[in-house]
């Protein structure tokens, strides 16, 4: 089998994963998209391992390793999502902006200038 089929498939899978991470609003679906990206990588590893005829099969070994890590990771990720849902009542990633700049909505350049003037006047 020619290498290009798995490579194109992996690229498509990865692109679907990237689209999902960037575009989906539900956290669970974002996590699933991340898994898609991981699996695209796994596919690449296996395909190149076969194509290069690696005697140690390092690519397949690494793929198993990645699957294990991904399983652990998805377990942790889903646990976090569950907790986030319990505390904030939503799993919508657009609304989870607690780590952003809190003044972002209020601080416009005009008001920023005015507050600066006020500080200078004081």
């Amino acid at each position: 089998m020619h290498l290009v089929y798995p490579a194109v498939l992996a690229a498509l899978l990865f692109s679907v994963g990237v689209y999902g991470v960037l575009a989906r609003r539900n956290v669970v679906l974002v996590l699933m998209s991340v898994e898609l990206m991981l699996n695209a990588v796994n596919l690449n590893l296996v395909a190149f391992d076969a194509w290069l005829r690696d005697s140690l099969h390092a690519g397949q070994a690494l793929t198993l390793f990645t699957i294990t890590v991904a399983a652990a990771e998805i377990g942790l990720g889903l646990a976090i999502v569950l907790l986030v849902f319990r505390t904030s009542g939503t799993a919508d990633i657009d609304r989870l902006t607690a780590l952003g700049d809190p003044n972002e909505d209020t601080a416009e350049p005009e008001t920023a200038g005015a507050s600066e003037n006020k500080a200078a006047a004081v």
Binding site: V18, L22, V30, D94, T97, G100, D101, G113, E116
Partner: protein
Amino acid sequence: MNLALPALVPALPALGAAAIFATGRRAPGFARPLAVLPVAASAVLALVVALQLGTDQSLDAATRLTPTGGPDILLAIHLDGFSSLISLLVGLVATCVQIYSTAYLKDDPRYPSYAALVSLFTAAMFLVVYSGDLIVLLVGWEIMGICSYFLIGHHWETADARSASLKAFLVTKLGDVPFLFGIFLLGADAGTFRISGVLQAAAEGRLGHPTLIALLLLAGVAGKSAQFPLHTWLPDAMAGPTPVSALIHAATMVAAGIYLVARLLPVFLLSGAALLVLSVMAAVTMVGSALCALAQDDLKRVLAYSTVGQLGYMAGALASGDRDAAVFHLVSHGAFKALLFLTAGVVIHAAHTNSISAMSRMPGLRGRVPDAYWTMGIALVALVGLPPFAGFFSKEAVLTAAEHAATGEALTNGLGPASAVPSAAGWIVLVSGALTALLTAAYATRLWLVAFHSPAGAAAPVTDQANGHAAGAPYSPEIDEADPAQAEPHAMRWPLWVLAVPTMGLGVAGLRPEWLPSLLDGGSLRPSTGTAVVGTGLALAGVLIAYAAWRSATARAAAPGRVPGQAGPPAVEAIPAAEPAVTPVADPGRTLLGPLFGPAQQGFHVDRLYTVLFVRPTTAAAQLVRFLDREVVETYVRGAGNGATLLGWLVRRAQNGNAQTYVSALLAGVVLLAVLVAVGS
């Protein structure tokens, strides 16, 4: 001679001042002895030092104070007849003033600080007199300046005192800056700051810029000794307590400039131009100030202008190259002017006013202060310069010096060739001195007659005058809290008579060459016949003219029939409009000066001129600087701040908390990099 003695003379009052400053608040009772005793001890020590030194000798001793890399600064003592004589004067006047002040400022809560400052001032003056090093002299010079500032502002509750003290400080400092540069230049040219070294360099002709040095020094002298054009601070300085006026602004500090020129006269003799400038300065000062004195109504301001004029005499003697005459006049003037101010203090306490026209309306003022009345008379006669009082001999010595200088035979007493003094300087001093003699006699007579002899005073009813405080005058704690019934306590009476002795007798000391002249340079202080006749004649003429003018003014004032409420004729001063019932006062000054009276009363508007020339441009420049600071510099500062805020706002837009946005940006960056790498390679 034991050097501890002359060192103790300035040290004792300084220690006394420190002790008063330390204890004044907790134990004000110690202030009086601590003020009087060290100063009196210094006066005695100064006498001892003078006696041990004797005549025709000088003593120089020095220890290096600090290495400077350039000319060394030495803690040097230079004693000779001049320093002996002036230290005696300072000691005598300072002791009298301290004793007098114990009574004069009896109820003043700030007496301790006052006494400490007077003591400190005395120490600084002794330092100036004894110092043999110009830098150390400058230290004393500046301490005197700051003491003068504080003491003028003693009654800082009043706006007058505040502005007067600031004015005095600024004007004298204006002179002191060129003075400092003059000292530096002198030290650089002579290679030393020691006065003896400087004089030696002057004698050997090693001074490169004598005219420049002399003119720079003259600026400081004009500031300190209140010579035109820096004289304006002295009349305002009368806002200070009267004993301070007596000590600092009449007898000693203002004479320091004259003393300095006398010490450095060989340097000045190298420059005819400087002597000419000095003579013009002296001439303008003495004539102008005598005219001003004739128009003043404030007793102390009359005396202040008189001081300015007499200092002009001394400067004139120096311009004529005769420092003996200058120092002789300095000493006799110090005695009689201190006496005049102290008597003025007594009279002001008794009358509760500074205004002589208000005094003239006061009945029986003469009888309430008999000692002050007589001693003031003595001092005024000395000021006028009638024989045999001290002022006659010293003033005639000045006129004689000017006469000799005018004929080209200046009495330089071996300090330089007689030709060093331009004869024009002699003529200027001689003419202006003679004119001033006339004017001095006129204003002294006017002061005496108006203050004590006005018939209006005898006739005026005893009404609101008894409780003092002339209407319209601002409240002054010094004047208004005195007890008029006890205007002459013993502590204020005896210093007057002590000072009256040299006022009457000192002049005789100049007659014999082995008396006073042997203490100085040995030149004759005997008045020459020509100037003596002219000077005395002019003084007598001044007295008579003033008396005649007073008589006519009095007659005109009395003519309306002494009806209360009736305004006097135009030639008569109808003093405050708020008191219509006041009897008009006959002022001979108005008659004598005519149209000059108004300008003279305002000091010929020199203050206003300075306001226009200097104060307003300075204020305008300050406003310009304020504008540049507020509007220009701060715009840049604010712009920098606002720019940073704007950039920060832009960056903060990215930090919206949406993880997907971040990842999108990350991806875009990765793609961009990948494309760049692919294209680049």
